[in-house]
């Protein structure tokens, strides 16, 4: 019923320009899922067996620490790929991923995807390049947050320009 086709994937910017055979391999590992607001797409500490490409809605990455309210580390909106821990061992989910509103996602079974990438290293290369771009973008965003971007401008200017 919810069969994913290469054409459906090609509409998502993450997959733009990928060749049909690669899209077919990924489509074969994917299905559409719906999550109600407040429910979890991924559970912190569990085996990382899925990545989600958000088609509608947005999610919060929450870190649960005993004795504290869950802390939202980052929010991600439609178009984003969520779930990065599956590629490398020990493949455990780092954060709870909670739907902030009603979410539709493309769930990619990562065992299936990993097998496909091992059989076809050109798929592996193409997917990992795109995956890396996502990781780098998030790393840059995290660095900007560490810099306290919105503090008093004087903090960032050399003395002669203040």
């Amino acid at each position: 019923m919810n069969r994913i086709t290469p054409t459906m994937l090609a509409e998502q910017s993450f997959f733009h320009g990928m060749e049909e055979a690669h899209l077919q391999s990924i489509a074969d590992c994917s299905r559409l899922e719906q999550y109600d607001a407040g429910s979890l797409l991924l559970h912190q500490g569990e085996e990382a067996d899925a990545a989600h490409l958000l088609l509608e809605g947005s999610v919060a990455l929450e870190l649960t620490v005993p004795g504290r309210e869950p802390l939202v580390v980052e929010t991600l909106a439609a178009g984003e790929l969520v779930g990065a821990s599956w590629l490398l061992p020990p493949a455990r989910v780092h954060f709870d991923v909670r739907a902030r509103n009603d979410v539709i996602s493309l769930r990619i079974a990562t065992d299936c995807l990993r097998r496909a990438m091992e059989q076809d290293s050109s798929l592996g290369y193409v997917f990992c390049r795109r995956f890396m771009a996502v990781v780098v973008r998030r790393l840059q965003a995290t660095r900007l947050r560490l810099m306290d971007l919105y503090g008093h401008p004087g903090l960032f200017l050399p003395e002669e320009r203040r």
Partner: protein
């Protein structure tokens, strides 16, 4: 008497009508305007505010251009003069010179989508734009606000965001660090910016915040297709005279007080050393 142009170097005495504490160290002062204020101001312009016996600093006008008789300024206490200004109480007197500087190019944006990106206190000089857009919504296409700040307790004008939404402005707010109870976005302001929010072919973008925030926001908006000539930034370099005489605020070949504070990215990109644009 009222036909004689006022000496731009001479502060006019005005009184504080209202003082609102926005957050730790940040205060909004509503001042009783003098007859000059009736002439109005352009969103993006600033006044030189003189704290008696302490000194004078440039502060953007953050009030509603439709109500020019009420002079509104939002001030963060960072040093001697700004600290003295934030301590003023209703009834206290201060000096005002202005308005000075170029405003945001709102007439260029009429009929087009308006993209407003603010960081931290940078929302203050953009508030007149948002109030003008909310008051005359049909003047623009889509109006989108991207606002990033450190934490939920540093969201400026938090009580007004809903009214802006209700007026048809697409308001997006994100914080670097969430706190319990925060239901909004968490991430850096550039992560809010998405191609589907505006028509890059015609949109006009207005940016204000620390330069580092404007640098990355300009890079992102430019990457989403808005040309450099239609991305405008408010360069809040420190200044003295406010009227282009002393040269203190020289910025490359320009003076921020006279030629700015609003510049297009095309004008300032080489000076900001924005790479890969």
């Amino acid at each position: 008497m009222s036909n004689v142009p006022a000496d731009p170097m001479l502060p006019r005495p005005v009184r504080v009508l209202e003082r609102r504490r926005e957050m730790e160290g940040v205060v909004t002062l509503v001042l009783e305007g003098s007859p000059q204020e009736q002439d109005g101001f352009q969103p993006g312009q600033f006044n030189m505010l003189y704290a008696p016996g302490v000194g004078e600093v440039p502060i953007s006008i953050s009030g509603d251009p439709a109500e020019p008789a009420q002079l509104t300024h939002t001030i963060r206490s960072v040093g001697q003069v700004s600290h003295a200004l934030t301590r003023l109480q209703p009834g206290d007197q201060l000096g005002v010179r202005g308005p000075f500087g170029t405003g945001w190019p709102l007439s260029d944006a009429a009929g087009s989508d308006l993209v407003v990106a603010a960081g931290g206190l940078g929302l203050a000089p953009l508030r007149p734009v948002l109030l003008a857009a909310a008051g005359n919504r049909s003047r623009f296409g889509r109006v989108v606000l991207y606002y990033g700040t450190r934490s939920p307790d540093t969201v400026l004008y938090s009580g007004e965001l809903e009214a802006w939404r209700a007026a048809g402005i697409d308001v997006h707010v994100t914080v670097d660090r969430a706190a319990p109870g925060w239901k909004g976005e968490v991430g850096v302001v550039t992560q809010l910016m998405r191609a589907e929010h505006f028509d890059a072919g015609s949109a006009v973008a207005l940016l204000c915040g620390p330069e580092i925030m404007m640098h990355f926001s300009a890079q992102t908006l430019s990457g989403l297709g808005i040309p450099q000539a239609r991305i405008h930034l408010s360069m809040e370099r420190n200044m003295n005279c406010g009227v282009g005489l002393c040269g203190h605020c020289q910025f490359g070949p320009r003076l921020v007080c006279r030629d700015g504070p609003v510049f297009s990215l095309e004008q300032v990109a080489p000076l900001m050393k924005i790479k890969e644009l």
